[in-house]
C-alpha cells in the first residue's frame, strides 16, 4: 500500500512573512518556491530531508471564496486552525533558548514527558508547532 508521507499543508496569511519565520527563525529550508501565477507553491522542510515537505498555503480566491478565506484567516488567528506539525530535535532546551532569543512566541516551555522533552510555539499567524527531544 503506502510508502511514506511526503507533503502536508498548513495555512499561512503571508508567504514572505512565513519564510522569515520558518526559514529565518526555525531554520527549515525551502524545498520548492514556484510562482504558478494563480498561486505560489511554497514548501519547506527539515534541511537535508526534501522527501518530507510542508506546503505553506495562503488561503484565498480562486481556490476558495473571499468569504471562506476570511473565515479561514479568522480561525488561523484564533489558533483554531487544524494545520500543525511536530519536529524532533537533539536538544529541546537548547533549541528553546535559541528560538526564545529570536523572539519566537512559546505556548509551553520544555516539559518532561514519558516520551521525551517537548515544548510548543506559535507561528506569526496563530498556527501551533511543537518540537520534541525523543527519549533515547
Amino acid at each position: 500500500m503506502f510508502n511514506a508521507i511526503t507533503h502536508s499543508q498548513m495555512y499561512v496569511l503571508d508567504q514572505d512573512e512565513a519564510l522569515d519565520f520558518y526559514v529565518g527563525k526555525l531554520g527549515l529550508e525551502v524545498t520548492a518556491d514556484i510562482d504558478m501565477g494563480f498561486m505560489r507553491w511554497l514548501t519547506v522542510g527539515v534541511p537535508g530531508h526534501p522527501e518530507r515537505q510542508i506546503l505553506l498555503e495562503k488561503p484565498g480566491a480562486p481556490a476558495m471564496s473571499e468569504e471562506t478565506a476570511e473565515q479561514v484567516r479568522d480561525l488561523v488567528t484564533k489558533g483554531a486552525m487544524g494545520g500543525w506539525f511536530i519536529l524532533t530535535t537533539d536538544d529541546c532546551r537548547k533549541t528553546y533558548e535559541r528560538l526564545l532569543e529570536k523572539g519566537v512566541e512559546f505556548t509551553q516551555e520544555p516539559t518532561e514527558r514519558p516520551y521525551g522533552i517537548d515544548c510548543g510555539l506559535r507561528d506569526p499567524f496563530g498556527n501551533r508547532i511543537r518540537f520534541t527531544q525523543p527519549k533515547v
Partner: protein, 130 residues
C-alpha cells in the same frame, strides 16, 4: 475590518497563550490586557467575544486541567497540586475543581488513568468543557 479582526484575534491569542504557559503565576486582567496591548476595559469583553468565555474562566479551566494532569500522573498531594497550578488556597482549589469537573480532586484521582500521548493533545482534549 477583516484585518483588524485578525489583529485582535492574534492579540487575544497571545494573552491566552500566556495563560496556557504561565497559568501557575498570579494573573489579573490588567496584566493580560498589557500582553494583548488593549485597555483592561476592552480586554475581558473582546476575549469573550473571540473565544466564548471570560479570561478568568479560561484561566480557571487551564489550572484545573493542569491539576487533572498532575493528579493522574504524579503522587503529589492534592493540597500541593492546588498551590502548584496557581490556586491560593486548598478550599478555592477544591471548590473550583468540583465546579468544573463535577467530582472532587480525590475522586478524580481514583478514577483517572495516565495516557501516553503528546501533552498538547491531553491539554486540549482533557480540558473540561464548561
Amino acid at each position: 475590518m477583516s484585518r483588524a479582526t485578525e489583529e485582535t484575534n492574534r492579540r487575544m491569542l497571545r494573552a491566552r497563550d500566556a495563560m496556557d504557559r504561565d497559568y501557575a503565576q498570579p494573573m489579573d486582567v490588567p496584566a493580560l490586557a498589557r500582553i494583548a496591548h488593549v485597555s483592561p476595559a476592552h480586554f475581558t469583553r473582546t476575549f469573550r467575544a473571540t473565544f466564548g468565555e471570560t479570561p478568568h474562566r479560561y484561566l480557571q479551566r487551564r489550572r484545573v486541567e493542569r491539576a487533572m494532569f498532575l493528579l493522574r500522573e504524579t503522587d503529589r498531594s492534592v493540597t500541593a497540586i492546588g498551590f502548584e497550578v496557581g490556586f491560593n488556597s486548598p478550599g478555592t482549589f477544591s471548590r473550583t475543581f468540583r465546579d468544573i469537573v463535577g467530582r472532587s480532586p480525590r475522586t478524580y484521582r481514583k478514577e483517572a488513568t495516565a495516557a501516553s500521548v503528546p501533552t498538547c493533545f491531553t491539554m486540549a482534549w482533557t480540558r473540561p468543557s464548561t
